[in-house]
């Protein structure tokens, strides 16, 4: 009896640590950071962090969907800048916030549809297709602005600097996008098809899934997120910056990967990505609060990424092993 109970307890703990390992890391970070700096655990600082991570996290959700389907988007940062710049320009020309926002989103979708088309139609590896888009979109942003920043955005700043009931607007948008992503991945055929395509494209096709159409949709949705991020970004910094977002695609991927998305495709969740983004946000924030030197920050960040991902993979392996054990036992009972 006692033996049985302790077995159950161990099984429970191992399930907890494997399935929820990433949440445990987040919790541990929360505790450690609070101990390290008194300024960390305050409503204001946590709201600050949420606002700081919101824009890359919105891109991250699109990136997560793409990586799940075995795709990638290296152009996210550049397309974000282009979408943001054109949104700002449209705002300055028309004075309409709605048209400006729609423009940003449409530009994001359009750029990604081009990438998606090149990927699905010409079977170009997504890495190459989006690399090309990365250069082109950046070039277009620079060409349009002639390399100059755009200033005096007036009302445009409400997207990025405003708040609703004290919660910063970008954070609200991030939460909405995370719910949208969660819904798409869990409750729609599109989501299931993404997992299937990333997990085994041949089998997905042989199961009657419209693979190309699904990939195009994934690019379009992530493009919409990127465009939205561009509008929020320019609004938050109160300027149209053609050089904005360099390297954002990698921050977005980092959050995704830390959150358990697998680069081999077929695995990943919206919640994981959100948690991954917060882990990176906590890390950046605490290092600044503690005044850690810039170069050292980069080294520490790299180290933490490796530890988090390795821990996650190890606990997942344990899970698979214990599942195998279960099956063998079941087999014996039968």
């Amino acid at each position: 009896m006692a033996q049985r109970f302790s077995d159950m307890f161990l099984a429970f703990m191992s399930k907890l640590t494997s399935k929820y390992s990433i949440y445990l890391i987040l919790l541990a970070m929360l505790v450690i950071c609070s101990l390290l700096s008194p300024a960390f655990f305050s409503a204001k600082n946590l709201s600050n962090i949420s606002r700081q991570i919101s824009i890359t996290t919105i891109i991250s959700f699109g990136m997560t969907m793409l990586i799940i389907a075995g795709l990638i988007d290296l152009a996210a940062g550049s397309v974000m800048a282009l979408a943001g710049i054109l949104s700002v320009a449209i705002y300055k020309a028309t004075g309409s916030l709605v048209i400006a926002m729609v423009t940003g989103i449409v530009i994001g979708i359009a750029c990604n549809l081009v990438s998606g088309f090149v990927v699905t139609r010409f079977k170009t590896p997504p890495f190459i297709a989006t690399l090309a888009m990365m250069t082109s979109a950046r070039g277009a942003a620079l060409l349009y602005t002639n390399g100059q920043n755009i200033y005096q955005l007036d009302q445009f700043v409400i997207f990025g600097q405003g708040d609703i009931f004290g919660i910063p607007t970008p954070v609200i948008v991030m939460v909405i996008i995370s719910l949208v992503t969660w819904y798409l991945l869990n409750n729609t055929r599109f989501g299931r098809h993404l997992y299937a395509i990333g997990g085994n494209e041949d089998a997905a096709r042989a199961s009657g899934i419209k693979v190309n159409q699904t990939k195009m949709t994934a690019y379009a949705i992530s493009g919409a997120f990127v465009g939205l991020a561009g509008v929020l970004f320019m609004s938050r910094v109160n300027a149209g910056l053609p050089n904005a977002g360099i390297g954002f695609e990698f921050d977005a991927m980092t959050a995704s990967i830390i959150g358990g998305t697998s680069f081999s495709g077929g695995v990943g969740t919206a919640m994981g990505t959100l948690v991954g983004a917060f882990i990176m946000g906590f890390l950046n924030n605490i290092m600044n609060l503690l005044g850690i030197q810039s170069y050292l920050q980069q080294i520490i960040k790299g180290g933490i990424i490796v530890i988090a991902v390795a821990y996650d993979i190890m606990s997942k392996n344990k899970k698979t092993a214990s599942q195998l054990g279960n099956i063998e036992e079941r087999g014996k009972e039968a």
Binding site: R189, R192, Y195, N200, A204, A206, L324, E328
Partner: protein, 497 residues
């Protein structure tokens, strides 16, 4: 005089997290003999072989070669003791050529450490010639069929000049003709004093080549006896621990219904020509033939995976055009591929998602997928097919081949198709699960579905089918009614032309 055994295992024990894979395993292989291991999937055969090949290390017990204890830390060390293994799963690099794959990890080098391509080519040509295989040494592996690759795997192992050869289901993917080739090879190796450990599910094979048979069940050795003292019945009894009622399910004879699928003069380039056949409701039709006869290609084209160059397809009397998989699914066609890993399962996803993949639109509620409805439906289906899984959230790749196959079948049954195209539905599945699949196929037919079944095991076709078409070199060379079923008749038609 008692010989010292070539290979001896004493009290081997192996633990995996949460499960004891092997316990108290002791057996010996004599030089110049074939020792067959049988047992259901999960009985521990593959684990045992991996221990002999140095992939796993035993937690207890010892391994002796020629009476001397050895430690095998990895496959390279096993190779240095002249142990070679042919895997059940194919271990080749598709982008490499035949010769590169043959010499992978064992490339001939000159004194500067540069790969000696000329020597490699010479040795490859010699090997291929010696084994009577018609491939060019510079063919890429991805351009060869599964059975070609399996034969290469075998000659690769032989090329190491091993004394101890482990074969894990070497015939699961090769044709009858190639099996003969393999058996001749085995006889030759035996005469050279090589000891062979042979794993197989196929009873007729086992009794043809075995000198000794060991039966494993649940990680334990049940019995080892000379093959001459055993028969099929006894071996199956030992394997499952209970007596099989009969290998093939009883089938109620019934009058076939109307024609569901009518194929006329279907052709596809050089792979197959003028293939015409019919499939009636409630009928199980077999497709027999040698490897490469074009059976798989016909079925793939019917399912919309490959294009056809000419011919007509009618379903329920209506001519249809099938451009892609969606088209054929629309017309109530489902297909089980011979290559389950590639075309069947999404390995990183769970049982439920794999099962639901093709029929999600049937469980859509107001807010997207109705998870409760999906679970209810999938639970029912897995109960019906007797899928053994800890839960619907278990990764499909952690289940046995038989259970995976049932889930792929369930995926299609959830769409309630009228026509089922089954390509080698029992490949790599153990005896117990095979019986269940046969029973299912029979049930589905009696429910009014039309079943087309490709198999390389003639016994299986004879046991299950109502009619058999035989293909040879891309054409249908004959059709057999149940009363004419025999292995000789099938072989005759398969070898025509």
């Amino acid at each position: 005089m008692v010989d010292v055994p070539l290979l001896e295992l004493r009290g081997i024990e192996k633990l995996f997290p949460g499960v004891k894979a092997l316990s108290e395993m002791s057996f010996a292989v004599q030089a110049g003999s074939v020792h067959v291991l049988c047992g259901e999937n999960g009985a521990g055969k593959s684990t045992l072989c991996k221990i002999i090949n140095g992939i796993y290390q035993p937690d207890r017990g010892e391994i002796l070669i020629n009476g001397k204890p050895v430690v095998l830390r990895d496959p390279l060390e096993a190779r240095s003791h002249k142990i070679a293994m042919i895997f059940q799963e194919l271990n080749f690099i598709p982008e490499f050529t035949v010769e590169q794959n043959l010499f992978l990890g064992n490339e001939p080098v000159n004194k500067f450490g540069k790969i000696d391509w000329a020597a490699m080519r010479r040795q490859t040509v010699a090997l291929l010639e010696q084994e009577g295989l018609p491939y060019r040494p510079d063919t890429k592996l991805k351009d060869l069929s599964v059975s070609d690759i399996q034969m290469l795997e075998i000659i690769k192992a032989i090329s190491y000049q091993a004394n101890i050869l482990i074969m894990d289901e070497p015939t699961s993917a090769i044709s009858t003709k190639e099996v003969e080739l393999l058996f001749r090879k085995i006889a030759q190796l035996k005469s050279q004093g090589v000891g062979i450990v042979y794993i197989s599910h196929k009873m007729d094979e086992i009794f043809r080549i075995a000198d000794e048979i060991s039966v494993l069940r649940d990680g334990r050795l049940i019995d080892t006896r000379p093959a001459s003292e055993l028969d099929i019945e006894t071996v199956i009894k030992l394997m499952v621990g209970r007596k099989m009622e009969s290998v093939f399910p009883e089938k109620k004879p019934q009058a076939p219904g109307p024609v569901l699928l009518d194929v006329q003069k279907l052709s596809q380039g050089k792979t197959f020509r003028d293939v015409s056949f019919q499939l009636r409701q409630g009928e199980i039709v077999g497709f027999a033939g040698l490897m490469g006869a074009g059976r798989t290609e016909v079925v793939r084209a019917l399912f919309g995976l490959d294009e056809i160059s000419s011919g007509t397809i009618s379903i329920k009397g209506q001519p249809v055009t099938i451009r892609n998989v969606q088209d054929s699914i629309e017309h109530g066609v489902a297909m089980l591929s011979e290559d389950r890993k590639r075309y069947g399962i999404i390995p990183v996803r769970d049982v439920k998602e794999n099962m639901s993949l093709s029929s999600l639109e049937r469980v859509m509620g107001r807010f997207g997928i109705d998870h409760r409805e999906e679970r209810k439906r999938d639970t029912e289906m897995s109960r019906r097919l007797n899928v053994k899984t800890p839960s619907l959230e278990t990764l499909i790749s952690s289940l046995s081949g038989g259970n995976q196959q049932k889930i792929v079948l369930a995926k299609w049954l959830l769409r309630t198709p009228d026509i089922l195209l089954l390509d080698e539905p029992t490949r790599g599945i153990d005896v117990g699960a095979k019986f269940e699949i046969y029973k299912l196929i029979t049930e589905l037919a009696s429910e009014g579905k039309a079943v087309l079944m490709i198999s390389s095991e003639m016994e299986e076709l004879i046991g299950v089918c109502d009619r058999i078409y035989v293909m040879s070199k891309g054409r249908i060379s004959g059709e057999l009614q149940r009363k004419d079923f025999s292995q000789e008749n099938i072989m005759k038609l398969a070898l025509i032309g």
